[in-house]
Amino acid sequence: MTCVIGIDLGSTTTKAVILDGNGDVLGRGITNSRSNYDLAAAVAKTEAFINARFGLIEQQVQATETAEAVYLLRRAFVMEQLLHQLRRLEHLLLEEVDKSAPRHLVAPFREAIEEICRRITVEEETRFRAPPVLRSDFFRDAVGSAFMRIAEQIGDPAGVSFDRLIGVYDKCIIRVENEPMDLDFRDHIGDALSRVSNPRLADAVEFAVAYDLTPAATVGTGYGRARLPFPKEQIRSEILCHGLGAHAMFPGTRTVLDIGGQDTKAIQVDAEGIVTGFQMNDRCAAGCGRYLGYIADEMNLGLHELGPLAELSKRAVKINSTCTVFAGAELRERLSLGEKREDILAGLHRAIVIRAMSLLARSGGVDNEFTFTGGVAKNPAAVRAIRELVHENYGERTLNISPESIYTGALGAALFANRMVA
């Protein structure tokens, strides 16, 4: 089957969406953008194809198997990918130790590295057998936190210290992230299948492996789009892609707000999803997704934990500063005054949305229906603030948020690709 691909190279994450000839989504993939856009685009694309092939498996076994069985296979596959990368990381870590550690520490250093990697492997295998728990899908996040935790436990201040362990880790994780690796469907599906030991899936897997998915066109968008090895006609601005993507998800959309990592866009579209006007933040990036990332770092929380914590608030603290750095200072001051973390966080979410509201006003206001996209749309506290402020300023509006909203730009790009082959 021929298909088309849309790639959105964002500042924080890179997304890919694959569509079939009818414009229906076959697969989606995401990865962290790292400092290597070319590789990020390749990884996101690979992930989208993996996702598409799992979709094929699901279709094949629909009559005989439950969705859980395929989901388990999927989890096994993800683990195989992770263990593969972990082995590579371990290899690089040992190499680095041989090269740069003081002579008398090489042996204990190697032992410590091997011990950490062994423990991570055990943890991952245990995790696989337990019910799924939400965590970041990216190798760097998953392995990074485990490595740090175990290094803290086994680090010896007088010998192979925590700092030494983290030092080599920092060096090697960048290399692992920036070299092409065999992480494709065909590379790991065999191992994943043996791990779940469910022979009833074998035929479907074989079908999915053999299934021909040939991309007929690719369109790229996002900040890194200039890095894509495509001719200019195959590059679209993220404004157009977000407009079209939001329209495809919710055809009644007239206003789109996208809060991404480093910019916020307010877009107006017509009944066909064609952009009729837009505004973006210019001289200052205050109020973007990075604002929340910075706050999460300041509070020693994961980005995905911010929203749910803020949701516990009963009384939002008023945060005046929209400057990211000043907001950090305000946060510490409020904490020292004894304000609750959740109340401060609720105030910070409101502050970022107030910034977005002025962009929306600048672009012509909020028309019905209103679609909220971008990574921040996954954050329940941000969504709540949007809902409240839109209601206060514009009255009743239908607010659309797709669980796949992070893929809006990539979806729009894929739709443009589809038009190229149509």
């Binding site: 900040y223 952009v275 006007g277 210019d282 012509g364």
Partner: protein
């Protein structure tokens, strides 16, 4: 701009400006009096009629911006206590003065014998001359032009201006130069002004052609240079605009597009109207972002800050002081927002533009205040979506190339998408 350098008008302009700065440098020796004044509402003919030489501080500032000197000058002014939020032209000028007052052409600028403030809507100009008065300890005179808040001026407003010219401005010039007011001389300069203005308007209006032989913003800031600075009402000015008009008419005849930093633009794809001053520190890069996309600015408001000649005004030698009053009151900075909207709407229609863009400069309130309202109103009246970007005049810290380029590319693609959806 290899091709542009071959153009006669460019060579002429370069020589004119170099000679002018040379004369300024020699002024302390030759005794030629020097009057500082600003571009909007400049009374160059009157200054010239007293045999004085004009200095335009904001032209010096933008030239410093283009020559990558403004960053240092602004830092110098900030060290002297001027805030980060102050108009960057002011800080650039003050910084330049503090570092020896070496002008854009490398020669020293003379001290003013008089600061002539023609107040045409920019409050900052008033504070600027207050600062310069402090630095130079020289006489100052203010010509107060009433703001066109209601979109027009009443006869008593005009009478108020004439009275000021007669009773305040002329006596101040007489005192500063030691020369008597000579109305015949003034008439002579005004006659020359009108001649140059006719030719300039022909150049500006060539933007209506398809393809446009000029860029009505990036190219035109060069074209308006002489008439906005020292050369209105001079023979050199007349000669320059005659030569420029001939060149532009020839380009039009040959069906050539405008000159850009990369040579002649072939295949005009987007026709834009631009509101707001350009960024000077990255002027070439900014221009290239348009030229690379084959976007031509067919008309702009900024190129009217020194006079809105394309709407019919000409200096009239038969009413020397009255015509100066009329000129000042019609400057773009002295127009209210509805008049600015009318002007932009008119440009979009008359010049068949398919887009319009606002370059908003936060530190320039006389432009940026009300720009979002202008944007909304123009969109409503023309049905054409506007683009909005932010940069600065001469502070290099406020030009974010990646963001601006991203914005412009998005805007051009939006125009494409709209065209594709509405086949003509």
């Amino acid at each position: 701009m290899a091709e542009a350098l071959k153009d006669r008008s460019m060579v002429m302009q370069k020589e004119m400006i170099a000679n002018h700065f040379e004369r300024l440098a020699q002024a302390p020796a030759t005794g030629e009096p020097v009057v500082y004044t600003f571009v909007p509402g400049n009374l160059t003919e009157l200054i010239r009629s007293f045999g004085a030489l004009p200095v335009l501080p904001e032209i010096n500032a933008l030239q410093s911006g283009m020559r990558k000197l403004s960053g240092d000058y602004i830092a110098e002014a900030e060290r002297a206590g001027h805030s980060e939020d102050v108009c960057t032209y002011v800080k650039c000028d003050i910084g330049m003065m503090r570092q020896g007052n070496i002008g854009p052409s490398g020669t020293k600028l003379p001290k003013p014998d008089l600061l002539l403030l023609s107040y045409t809507g920019c409050y900052t100009f008033m504070k600027w001359f207050e600062l310069l008065r402090e630095e130079y300890d020289c006489p100052t005179v203010m010509f107060h032009v009433p703001y066109q808040g209601d979109g027009k001026l009443e006869p008593e407003h005009r009478e108020y201006m004439l009275r000021q010219l007669r009773d305040t401005v002329i006596p101040a010039l007489e005192k500063a130069t030691g020369r008597k007011y000579d109305e015949e001389k003034l008439r002579h300069h005004l006659t020359l002004s009108a001649m140059a203005e006719d030719d300039l308007v022909a150049v500006l209006q060539s933007g209506k052609l398809r393809p446009s032989p000029i860029d009505g913003y990036f190219g035109t800031v060069y074209y308006v240079g002489p008439i906005f600075s020292a050369f209105r009402g001079t023979q050199e000015g007349v000669d320059y605009y005659r030569a420029l008009r001939e060149e532009v008419e020839e380009r039009a005849l040959l069906g050539l597009g405008p000159i850009t930093p990369e040579g002649s633009l072939v295949g005009e794809k987007y026709r834009l109207v631009v509101e707001g001053p350009p960024n000077w520190t990255h002027f070439r890069d900014f221009w290239k972002m348009f030229a690379d996309e084959k976007a031509v600015v067919v008309a702009s408001t900024y190129t009217k800050v020194g006079g809105t000649y394309d709407f019919g005004f000409r200096h009239d030698p038969s009413d020397p002081l009255g015509t100066l009053a009329d000129y000042c009151s019609g400057c773009y900075t002295n127009l209210n927002l509805p008049a600015r909207v009318d002007m932009i709407v008119n440009y979009i229609r008359e010049y068949q533009a398919d887009g319009f863009l606002i370059n908003s400069v936060k530190s320039c309130n006389s432009f940026s205040a009300g720009q979002l309202m202008i944007l909304r109103e123009v969109e409503k009246r023309t049905g054409i979506p506007g683009a909005f970007i932010e940069s600065d005049l001469v502070d290099p810290r406020y030009f974010s190339a990646a963001n601006i380029k991203n914005r412009l590319e998005s805007y051009f693609q939006m125009i494409d998408a709209r065209r594709a959806s509405r086949p003509t």
